[in-house]
Amino acid sequence: AQSVTQPDIHITVSEGASLELRCNYSYGATPYLFWYVQSPGQGLQLLLKYFSGDTLVQGIKGFEAEFKRSQSSFNLRKPSVHWSDAAEYFCAVGSNYQLFWGAGTKLIIKP
């Protein structure tokens, strides 16, 4: 069965520090993987997606993610976070007509 695990419920980093948010998936075929961001009180916005090809994917707002098939992971990274990055981040895997979602990781930025 398809599933997505985001092991960290929340993460706190200092402004300017690097960030890595973890995502592990379970899927029987080639995964189609997404990262979305949800700012407080807002809907979700696509950051980046992976379908095939280069396993390092660039997204909006300076984010990137790396697909590692051997580890069933699709971790999100940013070299230097800004206070405006404080939000909740969701990883999802696409299957047929729907996406299966992780529970989310809340990112807290320390000034």
């Binding site: 009180g41 809907g43 979700l44 969701f90 729907q98």
Partner: protein, 114 residues
């Protein structure tokens, strides 16, 4: 371009009452979706529609119904609300219904059932 609009923004509802959450998109997307978001559970798909005139059940469809009379509108109805339906509801759309398509989300409706 507004994208996806949802109404109401929030609602407090007595248990047993009927409620329809509205969703309208102006992107002429074929596929539309309703999710509920609960703390610690992420988003769960309630119902979806691949194209106007068709609907399907998602992961948690019980207690909810949908219709898709045209491309733009995809209302979600709670026939008799129960407290466990207290949640934030998001409508989304995508150009097609394949698993590679980017979904675009509305701002959400916060529903409280007492």
């Amino acid at each position: 371009i507004a994208g996806i609009t949802q109404a109401p923004t929030s609602q407090i509802l007595a248990a047993g009452r009927r409620m329809t959450l509205r969703c309208t998109q102006d992107m002429r997307h074929n596929a539309m979706y309703w999710y509920r978001q609960d703390l610690g559970l992420g988003l769960r798909l309630i119902h979806y529609s691949n194209t106007a005139g068709t609907t399907g059940k998602g992961e948690v469809p019980d207690g909810y119904s949908v219709s898709r009379a045209n491309t733009d509108d995809f209302p979600l109805t709670l026939a008799s609300a129960v407290p466990s339906q207290t949640s934030v509801y998001f409508c989304a759309s995508s150009e097609a219904s394949g698993r590679t398509d980017t979904q675009y989300f509305g701002p959400g409706t916060r529903l409280t059932v007492l």
